[in-house]
């Protein structure tokens, strides 16, 4: 546990001393700010749906950029072997880096709290959907980060990691819009990332959606640990 935290701390520090996190966060805020304000102006409704729906999609563009560095850089610089042969266990390394990425996600999301603040300042929004919207955003983000984490562990090249992560995420995003029938259609619909998000924007917490996002995050973190393990005997 202590090792995990130490690794996380180190990773967080290097996140916030590199320009990538700032540039990505600033870009995220510009884009979501625009969607928020434009939707508010056109529909004039005091809720966050104008921000949350496009924001969730922007998040899948952002997640690979934030996670591409986590393992790829270590592989490139050759420090990964060192990290893995320490008395530190593989899983602690994986969890530590994942935790760091979650903290960055959290910081980015917390900054967008400015939008609901504006809503409360100028209007009378329903607080329930605001709360659940943020919960959903964080859960979605955690799943996206896990996918990016895996992509990063598969290659030493950060660009390749980002592209791979993006590819995987887009696949999981569009799999629900194929409109297929039957049991295959139902399975694909369930696997779709945005399908489980809209309930949160309406103020509903459905255990199925929570379980889905947690499973996706867990599965990809697990796969990352296994992919690291294969390095030992590659």
């Amino acid at each position: 546990m202590r090792n995990t935290l130490a690794i996380a701390k180190r990773e967080i520090r290097s996140y916030f001393t590199s320009p990538v996190a700032y540039v990505v966060t600033a870009a995220f805020l510009v884009v979501t700010g625009f969607f928020f304000a434009a939707d508010l102006q056109s529909r004039q409704m005091a809720n966050l749906r104008g921000f949350l729906s496009p924001g969730s999609f922007v998040l899948i563009l952002v997640a690979p950029l934030l996670t591409m560095r986590l393992f790829a850089e270590e592989q490139k610089m050759g420090t990964l072997e060192l990290l893995l042969t320490n008395p530190v266990r593989d899983i602690e390394v994986v969890l530590g880096k994942y935790l760091a990425s979650l903290v960055t996600l959290l910081v980015m999301i917390v900054l967008t709290l400015y939008y609901p603040l504006l809503l409360f300042w100028f209007g009378d929004p329903d607080p329930g959907p605001l709360l659940t919207g943020y919960l959903g955003l964080f859960l979605l983000g955690s799943a996206l980060m896990a996918v990016g984490l895996l992509a990063s562990s598969l290659t030493a090249n950060q660009i390749v990691a980002a592209v791979l992560g993006l590819g995987l995420l887009i696949l999981l995003w569009v799999v629900g819009s194929l409109n297929m029938t039957g049991i295959v259609g139902k399975v694909l619909d369930y696997l779709s990332l945005p399908g489980h998000f809209s309930d949160f924007t309406f103020g509903i917490i459905d255990t199925r959606n929570v379980i889905y996002y947690v499973s996706v995050a867990a599965a990809f973190v697990f796969l990352t640990a296994r992919s690291l393990e294969t390095r030992r005997w590659r």
């Binding site: 916030f16 001393t17 320009p19 996190a21 700032y22 540039v23 966060t25 600033a26 805020l29 510009v30 700010g33 625009f34 928020f36 304000a37 434009a38 508010l40 102006q41 004039q44 409704m45 005091a46 900054l111 967008t112 400015y114 939008y115 504006l118 809503l119 100028f122 209007g123 009378d124 929004p125 329903d126 607080p127 329930g128 959907p129 709360l131 659940t132 297929m180 295959v184 369930y190 809209s198 309930d199 309406f202 103020g203 509903i204 917490i205 459905d206 255990t207 199925r208 379980i211 889905y212 499973s215 867990a218 599965a219 697990f222 796969l223 296994r226 393990e229 294969t230 005997w233 590659r234």
Partner: protein, 566 residues
């Protein structure tokens, strides 16, 4: 001899040829394997997405399998090392672990689907079904299928889908589908759908329609002119439940508001004394609400699940009295909201049942809605906490009189040994505090021991009776007359309906009267459409600060961190 040699050499050459082909194949084994895998992968989507080429897809899959087998055979030695060598064992170990983990995730999700819970955190509980809907769906015997004719771009599609999905969750007998009218003209014509956003309900041939949308006018932000916009039907859930009741042949319960004696107007949702909000409050419980003029009918309608007299100011007409008395005698249900101005004939109406309306205004010095002592505030603890008031929040009653229940209390005590029971029983009640009295003189309220009755006094009384006071109760019947009397009508008027627990008292009393106690609840209070209406300057601030303020802040912090690192 030469022939044998010749043949042998041909065979030898063929053998050499074969082994060189074999050798060539072995080198190609990777490519063959790759081609085989590609063929298999391609056959899957082909089969699923292009049904016309299903046979070709199967053939392709077959070719893929064949190529894989050939690759396997030619590279048998390598395959063996791969699977059984050290790396191979690690590899298969990992694959098994991954399969196991993914399997656990799949099971967890399946369990989650089977036993899911939904929490609705909206203030209005917009996404939870009302008690009435839950009850109707729980009792549903016949299958109901709904077809929502919504084009893909319809703004009400998502809310309609969410709502109907909730219905489907409650009972397998309710099914629905969303139909694109433009892609299914035959179906659209079959159900005679001619507008956008119609939901058709069908149960064994019986049909009903519900509109999923309404048009509202909202001011256009740039021109200020009203602009028509399509909005989701605000009473969609009630309409859907009503349609289900209709197509399955179940009747909605009818509640009649008496008119002709100066009662409050149920068609007025805006005036302070109107009862429009009270009427609207009854809609989610799927009541059909009608005014009833007793002077014009021969008898109270058979289908009257309850009668409501909302603050009558004039006497009952002679010919109306026997109609009501008759209705009450036959297990009728009455809600009487009587003000100090309500005349005596109304008190006489409920007298056979042990109830009377006390003369005078109720003043409560201890518990009143400031600043008026003539508006008694009745807290939770002042209620009997029976079926109607058990979860009630505070209520208050501007300008009220008391309900006299002394005759009920002083009924002949029944002999339990003989199985006797009082004909009239108090089911629920609300009292004023001991610091209250009935003020009989006009002017400043002051307690006068000579003329004023001291509290605690009943303000709200609900009774159930098998027979009038003094009459012999019929043998073991579970049919009851139910009467609820409140010494005030203003508490449920538009001005005060949604204050504190007033609406709940009114609605729960009606639920109790119509014998639908399972609907009794504390209902969330509706809020206005959450529109954001601000000045142009405010819009500009919102826009520019959202786009520029935060990102700039981040950029500045980033630059600072970078500079520090240098």
């Amino acid at each position: 001899m030469a022939v044998v040699t010749r043949v042998a050499s041909v065979f030898r050459r063929i053998g050499v040829g074969f082994s060189s082909i074999w050798g060539a194949l072995r080198g190609l084994s990777l490519i063959l394997a790759g081609a085989g895998v590609l063929a298999l992968i391609a056959s899957g989507p082909l089969y699923l997405l292009v049904p016309e080429m299903a046979n070709s897809a199967i053939v392709l899959a077959g070719v893929g399998v064949f190529l894989l087998l050939v690759a396997l055979l030619t590279a048998l030695g390598q395959v063996r090392t791969a699977l059984l060598g050290r790396r191979g064992r690690y590899g298969s170990n990992t694959v098994l672990m991954v399969i196991a983990f993914v399997g656990v995730m799949v099971v967890a999700n399946l369990l989650g689907i089977r036993q899911s819970y939904r929490m609705d955190l909206t203030v209005n509980k917009e996404f939870s079904l009302s008690n009435k809907t839950t009850k109707v769906l729980g009792d549903l015997k016949a299958p109901v299928h709904a077809l929502a004719f919504l084009v893909p771009g319809d703004p009400t599609r998502e809310t309609t889908d969410n709502l109907l999905k909730e219905y489907g969750h409650r009972t397998p007998r309710f099914t629905y589908e969303i139909v694109d009218p433009e892609a299914n003209p035959a179906l659209t014509r079959l159900y005679e759908v001619s507008q956008y956003g119609v939901i058709v309900f069908d149960s064994e041939g019986h049909r009903a329609n519900v509109a999923s949308q309404v048009t509202v006018d909202i001011p256009d932000p740039s021109t200020g002119q009203p602009r028509s916009q399509v909005a989701p039907n605000p009473t969609l859930e009630q309409d859907v439940t009503a349609a289900i009741l209709k197509v399955t042949g179940l009747k909605q319960k009818r509640v009649y508001f008496l008119v002709g004696h100066g009662e409050a107007d149920i068609s007025d949702p805006q005036g302070q004394q109107g009862y429009g909000l009270a009427r609207q409050g009854l809609v989610p419980d799927n009541y059909e609400i009608f005014p009833l003029s007793l002077a014009r009918v021969e008898r109270v309608p058979e289908d009257a699940a309850a009668l409501i007299a909302a603050g009558p100011r004039q006497e009952l007409l002679e010919q109306e009295k026997p109609l009501l008395a008759d209705y009450l005698n036959k297990q009728g249900k009455l809600l009487l909201l009587a003000d100090p101005a309500t005349p005596a004939s109304w008190s006489d109406l409920v007298a056979p049942w042990g109830l009377a309306l006390s003369q005078g205004r109720l003043i409560d010095e201890f518990s009143y809605a400031r600043p008026d002592k003539g508006s008694p505030l009745v807290q939770r603890t002042q209620y009997l906490l029976g079926p109607v008031t058990k979860s009630l929040d505070t209520t208050f009653f501007p300008n009220s009189r008391a309900v006299d229940i002394t005759r009920i209390i002083s009924q002949k005590k029944p002999d339990p040994a003989k199985g006797e029971v009082s004909p009239v029983q108090i089911v629920d009640m609300g009292l004023t505090t001991p610091a209250s009295w009935l003020e009989t003189s006009s002017g400043e309220p002051k307690y006068d021991k000579e003329t004023d009755t001291v509290g605690p006094l009943p303000l709200v009384a609900l009774v159930a009776a098998t027979a009038p006071i003094g009459a012999v109760p019929p043998p073991a019947s579970d049919k009851r007359t139910r009467i609820a009397v409140v010494g005030n009508s203003a508490f449920a008027s538009n001005q005060f309906f949604y204050s504190l627990g007033n609406s709940d008292l009114f609605l729960n009393s009606v639920n109790w009267l119509t014998e639908e106690e399972e609907l009794i609840s504390i209902r969330p209070k509706p809020f206005a459409f959450r529109q954001l209406v601000v000045t142009q300057r405010a819009w500009n601030w919102i826009f520019y600060s959202s786009i520029a303020f935060l990102p700039l802040l981040v950029a500045v912090v980033g630059a600072f961190a970078w500079w520090r690192r240098r």
